[in-house]
């Protein structure tokens, strides 16, 4: 990839592929990819964290946790064309749930919008991002000791104060790691977005796919440069993550 990104169509060395990355339309593709990945990582992370906590905390029946983790194991690995089709058939414009709500309940949930947009891609991505968060964060939540919650309560803290001062700070290193994983997971996804929108959502993996498989736009070296750009974005994310993680975990061994 590194070498291919700096090769031209004639086999010679060139920087034109890489230099194109900072111009349109590629900069837009990166922006869309980062936005979709960021939104689904943050939303998926928050919802997954809340779900995992609700299933694991004291007082929740054990079977709920088993059910959630089993479902999450399946859902986190469900992607690509089957996932896109499942959503189209269910909540797409003529999906069974959409039609039911329209015909029986007289509700127009999409209000003129549809699933085949950036927002639609984000909704579909959440289907595997939330379960992935549940799977990744569950062991960290298990590590929250009951004594901490009880000691905080005993000292006069309410639930919010416990989470603000103890629960979230203790979970933060794991949450940051999980968010990076979720970001990378969405950033590299291709088949789901492509099959859902038929390539109309302009994200980097779809553009790379077009340069590799397209008859008109076939340009594998530009595709390799785009992949190199994705690598740079992920490295930048890691560089942002490391000091944050170090700061969040400064109290750990």
């Amino acid at each position: 990839m590194l070498i291919g990104a700096f090769k031209g169509a004639n086999g010679g060395w060139t920087t034109s592929n890489v230099s194109q990355l900072v111009h349109q339309p590629y900069i837009q593709a990166y922006r869309e990819s980062i936005e979709i990945s960021g939104v689904t990582a943050l939303l998926g992370g928050a919802i997954g964290l809340a779900l995992a906590y609700a299933a694991i905390r004291d007082g929740t029946p054990r079977w709920i946790r088993s059910l959630l983790t089993t479902f999450s194991g399946v859902a986190a690995n469900f992607g690509g064309i089957p996932l896109a089709f499942a959503f189209i058939a269910t909540i797409g414009t003529i999906g069974i749930a959409t039609q039911f709500m329209h015909n029986q309940l007289h509700l127009n949930v999409w209000q003129g919008a549809d699933l085949f947009t950036k927002t639609g891609v984000e909704i579909v991505y959440l289907y595997f991002q939330i379960p992935l968060m549940v799977l990744v964060i569950a062991p960290a939540i298990d590590g929250l000791r009951r004594e901490w919650r009880e000691a905080a309560s005993n000292l006069g803290a309410n639930a919010w104060q416990f989470w603000r001062h103890i629960g979230l700070p203790v979970l933060m290193p794991s949450v940051l790691g999980a968010l990076i994983l979720l970001f990378g997971n969405a950033f590299a996804a291709y088949a789901t977005a492509y099959s859902l929108t038929n390539g109309n959502v302009y994200i980097v993996p779809v553009v790379i796919g077009a340069y590799y498989t397209g008859n008109v736009f076939n340009n594998p070296h530009l595709g390799q440069a785009l992949a190199l750009g994705m690598f740079v974005v992920l490295v930048a994310m890691m560089l942002l993550y490391i000091p944050l993680q170090r700061r969040a975990a400064r109290w750990a061994k």
């Binding site: 009880e150 905080a152 309560s153 005993n154 000292l155 006069g156 803290a157 001062h165």
Partner: protein, 369 residues
């Protein structure tokens, strides 16, 4: 007037009765230990007082106010847990400060109070360390300072020394008592270690199967156990089952051997009794067939306990334990024939009921959660 009252507390976990009518009355500034084996309900009782659990029946009254339904964060009680309860993301100082912080106390006041408390527990030098940088004993001192910071109405300690090594345990229990006396704080202490309970408490309540078997001063619990269970649990006790044969002379037949027990005088003839004798009151000498109130037997084992050595003696079917000075025990090695003389006036006597004698052991259950 009692400061802390537990009235008829009951708590069931499914079919297990963790607490079966607990009544405790404790004066202001007093130190009560709840003592008992695993599963006896002592931790359940403490958690009810702290507010982490609700009783099925009964009330908890502090300073004349019923707090049974009050949320734990509104009870003003400081609690020290068994271990690992310090907030790992906060330094020792921040841990101690936490309760004051969430109560909105001014920063300068907080700082002064934290300094005073760290000084009190001997950790003024370690305020900036995180929990993982502190030893187990230091962590429990911080936990104690944290519990005391809010000036609680009642201090609750849930086996705070059980995760520490023996030497630190002794040192820290003395410090807990010193601080408790200094601050005059009403304290409820849960432990399964009878030595710990007897050494630091004003009162000890021995619990068994969700009930209080006996409550009293440590010396009273040791010298006058009210039930076979208490006799067995507090200290070490020889137990001889027997039948009163002569109420006038106070003689009891213990399986073919007759001994005199002052406490048996006046008991009905033929009454089934349990004779209780502390090992330190048994006099052991080489067998010579002389002397009254003795059981003749053979030394089975020696257990070295420092200044004293514990001898296990088999006399017929009965097994006796006797403590004697280590220097003298050497003259009676295992295999020696000995006479064990029982003190007729120091032996305790309990009526033997139909109920089987309790065996002290692990009884894990929800009460120990």
């Amino acid at each position: 007037m009692p400061y802390l009252e537990l009235q008829g507390l009951e708590r069931d976990f499914g079919t297990v009765k963790a607490l079966d009518g607990i009544d405790i009355s404790l004066g202001e500034g007093e130190f009560l230990s709840l003592l008992g084996p695993s599963g006896c309900g002592k931790t359940t009782a403490l958690r009810l007082v702290a507010g982490f659990d609700r009783p099925d029946a009964g009330t908890i009254v502090v300073d004349g106010k019923d707090v049974t339904r009050v949320a734990p964060n509104k009870r003003d009680m400081g609690m020290v847990f068994q271990a690992y309860s310090l907030f790992p993301n906060m330094t020792a100082r921040q841990n101690v400060e936490f309760g004051l912080r969430v109560r909105g106390q001014d920063k300068p006041d907080r700082r002064k109070r934290v300094d005073d408390l760290l000084e009190l527990v001997g950790l003024a030098h370690a305020g900036d360390r995180y929990p993982h940088q502190l030893s187990g004993g230091m962590q429990q001192r911080v936990a104690l300072a944290r519990a005391l910071a809010i000036e609680p109405r009642v201090l609750l300690l849930d086996e705070p020394l059980s995760a520490l090594d023996a030497k630190v345990r002794v040192q820290l229990r003395e410090e807990i008592r010193r601080i408790q006396l200094e601050l005059g704080i009403t304290t409820l202490y849960v432990t399964h270690d009878q030595e710990e309970a007897l050494s630091v408490s004003d009162h000890v309540a021995v619990m068994y199967r969700g009930r209080i078997e006996q409550m009293g001063a440590p010396a009273e619990m040791y010298s006058a156990p009210a039930t076979p269970f208490v006799a067995e649990f507090i200290g070490t006790m020889n137990r001889l089952e027997g039948t009163v044969v002569d109420p006038g002379a106070g003689t009891v037949d213990t399986g073919g051997r007759t001994i005199t027990v002052e406490a048996a005088r006046g008991k009905p003839r033929g009454a089934r009794v349990l004779v209780l004798v502390r090992p330190e009151t048994v006099q052991v000498a080489a067998a010579n067939g002389a002397g009254g109130n003795t059981l003749t037997g053979e030394v089975l084992t020696h257990t070295f306990l420092g200044p004293v050595t514990r001898l296990r003696i088999l006399s017929g079917e009965a097994s006796l334990i006797a403590d004697m000075p280590t220097a003298r025990a050497a003259a009676l090695p295992p295999g020696s024939k000995v006479d064990a003389s029982l003190p007729s006036d120091e032996a305790r006597l309990l009526d033997l009921t139909e109920e089987a004698l309790p065996e002290i052991g692990e009884e894990p259950g929800p009460a120990d959660r």
